[in-house]
């Protein structure tokens, strides 16, 4: 294989740190190491920089700076939102979420269930869409929290969180509405003063938008009942203990400034994605484009190839220097394929053969064309090995299983 250039198409997993972000961080790793809480001028200057960073990050989501709290990652933000809301209102015992949340929400909700809460996991349809009627029927007088992700990490499906939040709040203003916006922040315009004005809590992180790993944020609308999650300090207005990670927060702020400037590029990225999607549909038989029938993030393409297995596809892509990911069981650490694709009832002949390409503003047309060139060959090669595929007809064997989902 030798030296090869890397085509990075796994931006829903993490992103390259932007060069300007690195520059913005360096002063705080060198001379400006002071604790922003300390009582001397150099520390005060850092505290002012921290305040400026908070404004920049808040601006990306249309929030007031005082409503934005820094965390270590979106997983922490999600844990804080759910556990913190539950502890603030112990009389309410019911949560509403979806079957396709990221584990950082799903596992917290499952823990709530183990702790005696009732949790409704809303289903999705074949295109990955939620039904607002299911949502309405799930709401109860003791509903504590609604937590619905803004965009799905695997398929890119975008949920109508603003609408669901309005319905929840009109039903009962005491219901707390949380959304995990980790995948949409920086990719879609988010406005907590506009479309998302009924959302109380919103999580996102830096490393999905070209900041480094290790920094995130939780937006907490003023007046939302929420107990702290990380105790042990007066930082973040007493709501999240721990000395502020100033270098990363400075990087996060720079990344958010850049993300706002680049939001207009979403169309270009969507064009690249659509180009790859068209090419795959034209050149690969028996392929599903998961979530294509619903609103989707501009950068995400989730494919499922019938009768082959995703890990082998990734392995082959890797040999070509192409970085992507899969919902196959063999890549999940458990033996179960993606909970998202199973919730969407992707046919079981394809659910093991899923591949996700996710682009960023650094993705070029040449890279996408290279993927479009290599991918059909890989699928073809693997199908040659498949006991369910007839190479002569380039179609499944007549005796291959099919029909009802697993």
């Amino acid at each position: 294989m030798g030296a090869k250039s890397v085509i990075y198409a796994d931006n829903n997993a993490t992103t390259a740190v932007a060069p300007d972000v690195v520059e913005a961080m360096l002063p705080y790793l060198r001379d400006r190491y002071f604790n922003p809480s300390s009582m001397y001028d150099p520390a005060d200057a850092v505290a002012r920089d921290l305040a400026a960073a908070r404004r920049d990050v808040a601006a990306l989501v249309g929030a007031k700076p005082a409503e934005l709290f820094f965390t270590s990652c979106a997983t922490e933000s999600n844990n804080w939102a759910i556990f913190g809301a539950a502890r603030a209102t112990p009389s309410r015992r019911h949560l509403v979420t979806t079957a396709v949340e990221h584990p950082a929400v799903l596992e917290v909700c499952r823990q709530m269930a183990r702790d005696g809460y009732d949790v409704t996991f809303l289903p999705v349809d074949r295109e990955g869409r939620l039904d607002a009627a299911d949502f309405v029927r799930a709401l109860r007088p003791d509903t504590l929290l609604v937590t619905v992700m803004h965009a799905n990490n695997e398929t890119g499906s975008v949920f109508p969180v603003g609408e669901l939040a309005r319905i929840a709040k009109e039903t009962d203003p005491a219901i707390v509405v949380h959304t995990d916006a980790t995948q949409s922040a920086g990719k879609l315009p988010l406005d907590l003063a506009g479309e998302l004005k009924h959302v109380d809590l919103l999580s996102f992180s830096g490393h999905k938008l070209h900041a480094p790993k290790g920094v995130g944020a939780l937006y907490v609308r003023r007046g939302t009942p929420l107990k702290p999650y990380l105790l042990g300090g007066h930082q973040e207005s007493g709501r999240r203990g721990g000395t502020e990670n100033v270098p990363h927060i400075a990087g996060f702020a720079a990344a958010c400034r850049l993300a706002r400037e680049h939001l207009a590029e979403a169309g270009r990225i969507a064009d690249l994605r659509d180009r790859l999607e068209r090419s795959v549909r034209a050149n690969v038989p028996f392929v599903e484009v998961n979530g294509a029938g619903a609103p989707r993030l501009p950068n995400t393409l989730n494919l499922a190839c019938h009768f082959i297995e995703g890990e082998s596809i990734l392995y082959q892509l890797n040999a070509h220097g192409i970085c992507a990911s899969s919902g196959s069981a063999c890549t999940s650490g458990s033996l179960e394929p993606s909970h998202v694709l199973r919730a969407m009832k992707v046919p079981f002949t394809a659910v093991h053969g899923s591949v996700r390409f996710s682009f960023s503003r650094y993705t070029t047309g040449a890279e996408v064309d290279r993927i479009a060139e290599v991918f059909p060959r890989i699928v073809h090669q693997l199908r040659r090995l498949s006991p369910y595929w007839d190479m002569a007809r380039n179609a499944p064997r007549p005796d291959a299983p099919g029909g009802s989902p697993a």
Partner: protein
């Protein structure tokens, strides 16, 4: 990469995928033995075929000269299939001798497999057994008479323990003994049982029970179990608030709402090419969806709020609220 494979595993996979001469991808034409193991539902499956050089007098002296596979699965499943075929062809085994090949031989040939991938080698050994069984039937060889008991025969009919991967009790029992599996994680790594929903781990007659029966209680310490899962069983608190004392029953209110919408609201909307659908009625809230021409109308929410809510307040109950869905 998620899994650390040996160089040998990677090489075999790459050679197979690129159809390098000497690899064993495909099916033997007019095979003398056909065996299958796994299924697409489980995430991997193998179809194994072989051809023998037939001995004129004694089928027991047939020698396997060609072995081929088709595999649906991950990198290591494909490499393990390659290993199985290579082992058999290199050694010019008779089908009976080939039965001696175990999953351990396959792992050794691959120069090791990650623990979570051991099931890929087990699949190869199982498909081989099934193919030899098939050969014996074709050649009129009575394996039982030779003292060879192919354990897989008849196992499919047993009670299913692991529903996710359709694995039966006799199969799981045999593999626990053959592979000396002592814990549930070991079982999952070797044969996948219990690897998905995990509900068979501690269920009555589940994996832990089978382990205990096989090895005795002390064979592997039983992990501490938390109380029964609360998710489904938790009592739903706070039933719907009863209607105000002395008021009409909730059922009557609901019927009234439906009547007013059917008789007064819907005709008005239909006049404009629209329609209305009641999604749910509960806790004094009527959840509605505007359909038809109204659905895309920017004034839809206002229409619902003003017109529908006012009508219902006047006609049914002044406390009713309408929410657009």
């Amino acid at each position: 990469m998620a899994w650390e494979y040996s160089e040998k595993t990677k090489q075999l996979f790459m050679d197979a995928v690129h159809g390098k001469p000497g690899t064993h991808l495909g099916e033997v034409e007019n095979p003398d033995g056909v065996g299958e193991h796994g299924s697409i539902v489980c995430g991997d499956a193998l179809r194994f075929t072989f051809r023998v050089e037939r001995h004129d007098g004694d089928p027991l002296k047939d020698v396997i000269v060609e072995a081929r596979y088709l595999t649906f699965g991950c990198t290591s499943a494909i490499a393990a299939s390659e290993a199985l075929c290579a082992l058999i062809e290199q050694r010019r085994y008779t089908p009976i001798q080939a039965l001696k090949i175990t999953n351990k031989d396959i792992v050794d040939y691959l120069e090791g497999l990650p623990a979570q991938k051991i099931h890929c080698s087990v699949m190869g050994a199982e498909a081989l057994q099934s193919a030899v069984h098939n050969w014996a039937q074709r050649r009129g060889v009575d394996l039982e008479k030779l003292g060879i008991h192919l354990s897989m025969v008849g196992e499919d009919d047993g009670r299913i323990v692991c529903k996710c991967f359709s694995l039966t009790e006799p199969y799981i029992r045999r593999k626990i003994r053959e592979l000396n599996l002592r814990t549930i994680p070991e079982i999952t790594a070797a044969i996948k049982a219990g690897g998905a929903c995990m509900s068979c781990h501690h269920a009555p007659g589940g994996l832990q029970d089978i382990l205990d029966e096989t090895w005795g209680r002390g064979g592997a310490a039983r992990p501490a179990r938390p109380g029964p899962a609360a998710a489904a069983g938790a009592a739903a608190p706070a039933p719907a608030a009863p209607s105000a004392a002395g008021g009409p029953s909730p059922f009557r209110v609901m019927k009234e709402i439906e009547r007013v919408i059917a008789e007064q609201v819907r005709p008005m909307l239909r006049a404009d090419g629209g329609d209305i659908e009641i999604v749910d009625i509960k806790e004094g809230v009527v959840y509605c969806r505007l359909a038809g021409a109204c659905a895309g109308c920017p004034g839809a929410a206002t229409t619902l709020k003003l017109m529908v809510e006012r009508t219902l307040k006047e006609q049914v109950d002044e406390h009713l609220r309408v929410i657009a869905v």
